[in-house]
């Protein structure tokens, strides 16, 4: 991506919130689940009922530690604070969050094809509920006549990962988020979906004269819900800052909203908004993970994206393919399938071309391996294999994705080779002129015979095998 203006450079730090993949909320035993009926996944704790008290979810801490380790952070003793402000979807009118003593601090992330980005901290906090504004256009605040509040999301564990301002462009920011997302997927720490809000990115953006190392006034841009809008928001905001400096003005430090009109807009700031009156949460005790626990978490960590890309490279995947597989969270699946005996090239090919599907990340490696083996053995054509894979993904969540059974169900049966030879002979007999051309070296007319065989078998023949048989006849 081109520089915004050659004499200026962009400085970006990212705050990424991810919902941790726990079964229950950070401080209560309510299910942590997306998409249920409003206010059904709540307990007295989630509703901030008088007398209710929080108890910390061990699994959320474990996931935070794993992410911290993956980001080369130090895991330190930490405490929770209360951040006090009023908002209807915040049931206690304070948010419990780690403040000056986060669980993870001082790490880094190597972004493929870009710089090392420092990680300032990663801390645990609780999510708010959801407010739906009634009567305003598009459910937005302006012009609303009221609002409805659903606390199902209230108390969902969030990990906020704060980078240092080490990111120099929109493209680098995007690559950072992709790499972070791949790490979260590899760890199973979050499903990290920007579009669904289980991963949320806020960008702190400023500019400075090229080559300088000063940090100028930054603006925090919120509401970026895709990598594309992240890139566009950064470019827009950097240009806005440059424009202000060039006309002798300066940006003011504020929070801005990325909007569908392709601009950022300042939020109406409230006088008291900045005084959060943080103080140590008296209802929770200090968190000091002992070294043994941290070691256990480290030992249980799967291969991380950098290592996964390297191993995929060793299997023959090129860099782009490896990146695609890792970013889809499919690296372990591919590596394990190959480990279970699947052909590496075919497995990589399927992962890249045929597995941009929901449910792919849930596939069982041995089932994927047996699919690839069936294909290699000629029991399935390439087209059939793709179809079976699609069904496997649909069924992956209930584990009912055996490729043999699915192939049988779809009526995909391997052609008997003598039957196929007979059909090839029939096709040649039906198209004598084409056959002459083919024998004279006009390879493209092979399609006539392949098409005829396919028609006769209703698509169940393997095109590759038909081509092989045609070549055998010609060369005989």
């Amino acid at each position: 991506m081109a520089k915004v203006a050659p004499e200026w450079e962009t400085v970006v730090g990212l705050e990424v919130h991810v919902e941790l993949a726990t079964d229950t909320k950070l401080f209560s035993a309510a299910p942590s689940r997306f998409g249920d009926e409003p206010n059904t996944n709540v307990t007295p704790v989630c509703l901030g009922l008088p007398g209710s008290l929080p108890v910390l979810n061990r699994r959320a801490v474990e996931l935070a530690i794993a992410v911290g380790l993956a980001l080369n952070c130090e895991i330190r003793p930490s405490i929770f604070h209360r951040k006090n402000y009023f908002y209807p979807d915040m049931p206690k009118d304070y948010q419990v969050s780690q403040y000056d003593q986060p669980i993870c601090s001082d790490g880094w992330l190597d972004v493929p094809g870009a710089n090392r980005v420092g990680i300032e901290r990663a801390h645990l906090e609780e999510d708010a509920g959801k407010t739906t504004h009634l009567g305003g256009a598009d459910g937005r605040i302006h012009g609303a006549v009221g609002a409805l509040v659903d606390y199902n999301r209230a108390g969902t564990p969030l990990l906020e990962i704060v980078s240092r301002p080490d990111i120099g462009s929109a493209a680098e920011a995007s690559a950072y988020v992709e790499e972070l997302r791949a790490i979260l997927l590899a760890l199973g720490a979050s499903d990290a979906r920007l579009e669904e809000g289980s991963m949320r990115v806020d960008a702190n953006i400023s500019v400075r004269p090229a080559g300088s190392d000063e940090l100028r006034t930054r603006c925090e841009v919120k509401n970026v819900n895709s990598l594309r809008s992240l890139r566009n928001a950064i470019d827009y905001e950097a240009r806005r800052h440059i424009g202000l400096y060039q006309s002798g003005e300066e940006p003011i430090q504020e929070t801005r909203h990325w909007s569908t009109d392709g601009r950022t807009h300042a939020l109406r700031s409230k006088e008291e908004a900045d005084d959060y009156r943080y103080f140590p949460e008296p209802d929770l005790v200090p968190l000091a993970p002992d070294p043994e626990w941290i070691s256990r978490v480290r030992a249980a960590m799967p291969a991380l994206p950098a290592a996964q890309r390297e191993r995929l490279g060793e299997l023959g995947a090129d860099l782009d393919d490896a990146q695609i597989i890792v970013n889809r969270g499919l690296a372990s699946l591919v590596l394990d399938a190959v480990g279970a005996g699947a052909d590496a090239n075919r497995t990589v090919m399927h992962a890249v071309q045929n597995l941009a599907l929901d449910g792919a990340e849930l596939l069982d490696a041995t089932q994927l391996a047996s699919l690839v083996q069936m294909e290699a053995a000629g029991q399935l054509t390439a087209t059939q294999a793709k179809t079976v894979l699609g069904v496997m993904c649909e069924r992956a969540h209930d584990g009912n994705a055996d490729p043999g059974a699915i192939a049988a169900e779809l009526g995909f049966e391997a052609m008997d080779s003598s039957e196929l030879e007979m059909l090839v002979g029939q096709a040649i007999a039906d198209h004598p002129e084409a056959w002459q051309k083919f024998c004279a070296g006009e390879a493209k007319v092979a399609g006539v015979f392949v098409g005829a065989v396919m028609k006769a078998t209703r698509g169940q023949a393997d095109g590759k095998v038909v081509n092989q048989l045609l070549a055998q006849r010609r060369d005989a």
Binding site: V55, L56, A128, P286
Partner: protein, 103 residues
């Protein structure tokens, strides 16, 4: 107020009332300025204490690492909860319009 020695001014009380979302008349602001001022005046006795070497104490009993397992329990009954709400509709809590920044 003009009193240089007052521990808290009416402006500060008005600000604090806004932070705490309590509507007050100006007479009430004066009343609370007096009340808070008396307590804060008394708090000046702490100014004489040398506490530089004394760390803060947030929890009276030294526990740490208290967890629960990530196992779901029974959620509250929605009707029972919403029956206590001042206003509810569609299974949700209903409030007047929310102005200002989107949080």
């Amino acid at each position: 107020m003009g009193d240089q020695t007052a521990a808290i001014s009416t402006d500060q009380v008005a600000h604090v009332a806004r932070l705490a979302r309590i509507e007050l008349t100006s007479a009430e602001i004066d009343h609370y300025t007096g009340h808070l001022g008396r307590v804060l005046d008394h708090a000046r006795e702490l100014e004489d204490l040398d506490l530089a070497e004394v760390p803060p104490l947030a929890h009276p009993y030294p526990l740490q690492n208290v967890f629960r397992d990530d196992v779901a329990g029974a959620p509250s009954d929605r009707d029972e909860v919403l029956n206590q709400a001042p206003a509810a509709s569609d299974g949700q809590f209903e409030v007047p319009p929310v102005l200002g920044g989107e949080a």
